[in-house]
């Protein structure tokens, strides 16, 4: 490999080396990038490796959880409030979860014909905010806005507030490891039903927030929030057929037992 390799030893150094991202290939866990290099589709010229930048911690305070971008996905299996762990446990398999990172799952380049980023759904439902750096400096924004944006930024961490909430998760998956979800829905709300947030993944290039359903509480409205795609995992038609049922299921789980 003829790449120049940069290995920052602090978050500030990482941000400074990243600059506005031009000409930089970020190396997080490497689970997406290394296969692309192996077949010649990625040819990094300047590789920014984050494994020593101190971005791998998970802080659980009384009022919020902050997950560093380099936290391995295996580490979020047990973070409080459960919704994130419920989804994380089904990603890839145990060996890959130890290498893949939360930041990589969020920042994974959206592809028109393949969906990734299954963690997007629970993070949306948890009202998570992404702290990133890039052109214009550092900023914090709701994750659904980050996902819908241009994405050429370095993810530093993702955080969400802790409060009493119920969560419901409904996903349609193949019955084996390594399958991206056909579709996954995560809904969170306070016990009184307020602050309902719903995230859906598997239906398009990125996870999406379902504002129409949050308003109406009508599961069928999910189809006005998302535009499912055809890919190797499932057809758009099939996704359209199952999504309202998954949303209904997730919403039902929010009801008191």
């Amino acid at each position: 490999m003829t790449a120049d390799v940069l290995v920052p030893t602090s978050a500030d150094e990482a941000a400074s080396l990243y600059g506005d991202g031009a000409g930089i290939t970020v190396v997080g866990g490497g689970t997406i990038l290394l296969p692309e290099i192996a077949v010649g589709r990625a040819k990094p010229e300047r590789a920014l490796m984050l494994h020593r930048a101190g971005l791998g911690t998970i802080e659980v305070a009384g009022d919020r959880v902050v997950i560093g971008a380099m936290a391995p996905i295996s580490a979020v299996a047990d973070v409080p409030d459960g919704a994130l762990g419920q989804v994380a446990r089904h990603l890839a398999d145990g060996e890959i979860r130890r290498t893949a990172t939360v930041g990589g799952n969020i920042a994974a380049a959206a592809a028109a014909d393949a969906q990734r980023g299954d963690l997007g759904a629970p993070l949306i439902a948890l009202g998570a905010r992404v702290r990133s750096t890039g052109a214009g400096g550092e900023r914090i924004e709701p994750i659904e806005e980050f996902l819908a944006g241009d994405r050429g930024r370095l993810v530093l961490d993702v955080q969400y507030d802790r409060f009493e909430r119920r969560s419901g998760t409904a996903a349609l998956r193949r019955r084996h490891a390594h399958s991206f979800s056909v579709a996954a829905v995560v809904a969170c709300a306070r016990p009184d039903g307020s602050d309902l947030r719903i995230g859906v993944s598997g239906v398009g290039p990125t996870a999406v927030r379902c504002r129409a359903v949050e308003q109406s509480r009508d599961a069928a409205d999910v189809l006005s929030d998302v535009e499912p795609i055809d890919d190797a995992v499932a057809s758009a038609a099939y996704r359209r057929a199952v999504l309202p049922k998954l949303v209904r299921d997730a919403l039902d789980q929010l009801e008191p037992a």
Binding site: G30, L34, H51, D93
Partner: protein, 175 residues
Amino acid sequence: MKLIVNGMELDVVSPPLTPLLHVLRDELDITSPKAGCQQGGCGTCTVLVDGEPRRSCLTAVATVDGAAITTVEGLGERDALSPVQAAFHRHYAAQCGFCTPGMVIAATALIERAGGPVERDDVLEALGGHYCRCTGYVKIIDAVMAASRGEVEEIEDVPVSVAGEPEVQPKGSPA
């Protein structure tokens, strides 16, 4: 960079982004981890990094600088197989053998972590990312569970008749 491979400290000169798989295979000539897919999809490249099973094809070597790497060569040898290796052999858990190193590594880590007998579901969870196209998996699962129960059996070779004694009788169908 340094790696401690099967207990031996080695200097590594491959570039930092080189997958650990290729450092092991091509720089160090340790060939038990295989390049089955180079996408993390198959499990044939799995090694232990500081005791944890990881896909070596997805691990840039710089990220494991100084780590202890274990491959099957470090688990046991012909005349001193590890319990997992012996169980795989005893239970016919390998046919072409290409998936075997990865399976053995993952199973070894599972049993180490569990510290005792494991259930079928534990095996499915731990080995769930490993493909085998030959065996149909049943014997692999049997082998792992047997190893976790500490079942150690002799590996018998072809029975040999001794002059004057009756011909050794078949022991029944191997299936």
